[in-house]
Amino acid sequence: MEQQPRAIVEGLSIAFGDRLAVEDVSLSLPRGAVIGLIGPNGAGKTTLLRALLGTVRPTAGTVWVDGTSGFVPQLGPRGWDFPLSAGDVALQGAYRSAGWLRRPSHADRDRARTALASEGMGQHAGRQVGQLSGGQRQRVLLARALVQEADLLLLDEPLSGADAPTEAAFSDILGRLRGDGRTVVVSSHDLAWASARCDIVCLLAGRVVAFGPPAEALDATCLAKAYGGQVVDVGGVLVLAPEGHHAH
């Protein structure tokens, strides 16, 4: 039985001033899938995520999402020294459902606690967020996105600088979300991670270069097209060449 997609993007172009960030992107995102959004810097990954989130208006084309969207911003908040605990931040994910002028309910607090616990962060719930390590902070932001209980979860480079426990918790959670029929879009630079963990990879370089299973979307031809020859084959594994290195 063909399922209705979670989100459909059609002919999407977004311009900032006279610079085109994404151009003529058409995608259909299925339910219950982890989709890796891969591409070089400036490929429009963040812009596409924001278009899906609805905070950036399309210059042309349409974005349609069935359900609610949750978000983990790329760099996260600037104000880590803010007097909030990990539990407080996770609870922010419930603010919209709690509504204006109302305090989050006990059920909301339970959800926040459960989300933190599911990432091994239960014992840190009461700590001020500034005292947490980078990976722990990343998990708090992910917990907050989980508390949003969104149908479409948009994660902007959640694994940049993540430690091993964070990555493990993250993979765990992706599996559960997929099982619940949620759709997760994860932007990343990590080709190996995307090959191993994503159901679908969208290779982006302004336009969509490839969209499909990782084995197809991340083949040498597509990568060369997206990254302009910066990809090198090291013993059968494709990796991005470091800055200034040119593959032959």
Binding site: G54, G76, G79, L84, S85, Q92, L101, R103
Partner: protein
Amino acid sequence: MLHYLTDPLQFTFMQRALVAVVLTGLACGVLGSYVVLRGLAFIGDALTHAVFPGVVIAFAAGQSVLLGALAVGLVTAAGIAVLSRGRRVSEDTAIGILFAAMFALGVVLVSSLAAYQKDVAELLFGNILGVSRTDLVLAAVATVVAVGAIALLNKELALVAFDREMAEAMRYPVFVLDLVLLGLITLAIVVSLRAIGNILVLAMLVTPAATARLLTDRLATMQVAAAGIGAASGIVGLYISFWWNVASGGAVVLTATAVFFAVFLTQSAVGGMRTSGG
């Protein structure tokens, strides 16, 4: 000993003054927490100066200076928010342009009203002895509105302050919330005008909140502590000003500053002992 505390209370002006400084401490402590956490000290300073022409006009017209300040302050707050919304004028620049202009307008107005020039000092530094019943009622209403609004909007304002991008992603009207916050800060400034005066209000917005931040890692606790420290500094400062016959606004601010340094130095000493003692 006790007569040092009770004697001043025989005077109506002291009773009113006490209420005025307590209201100042409460409103400035609660709103000041956001001033400190969001790094809005410059905006706070700007707003305190920007209300000056409103004070002068209302004074000359025989109206409540608090209402005049409120009107002009809200207009300036909106002006700053609107000007800095575009990309061509940064927020800092918008504030710099507007607050200097508003203060200059106040200066021009005062200089054209020769009869009032002797009152300029009172307008700038407040006059705790001249707090009228109307002033008190206005200050009380403004305090209730400001603190009440924070109580109701605290989770949204905290989210915007902590993680603006997420607030936008969650479809909160971030710009409107910014405007509301600036409006509430203006209210706190207006509450403080009679007791502390234009120039020194900033200290009441920043210092008690900064002290409270040193004491706690919880937002709500910080806000309550800042209000408490502000109100207590107000009371102590007012008694000092009464018995030593010095300017009340200055005495209150210096008391708050002394509390800040006491906490800061104590914590540094304790922290230093922890580090060296292991």
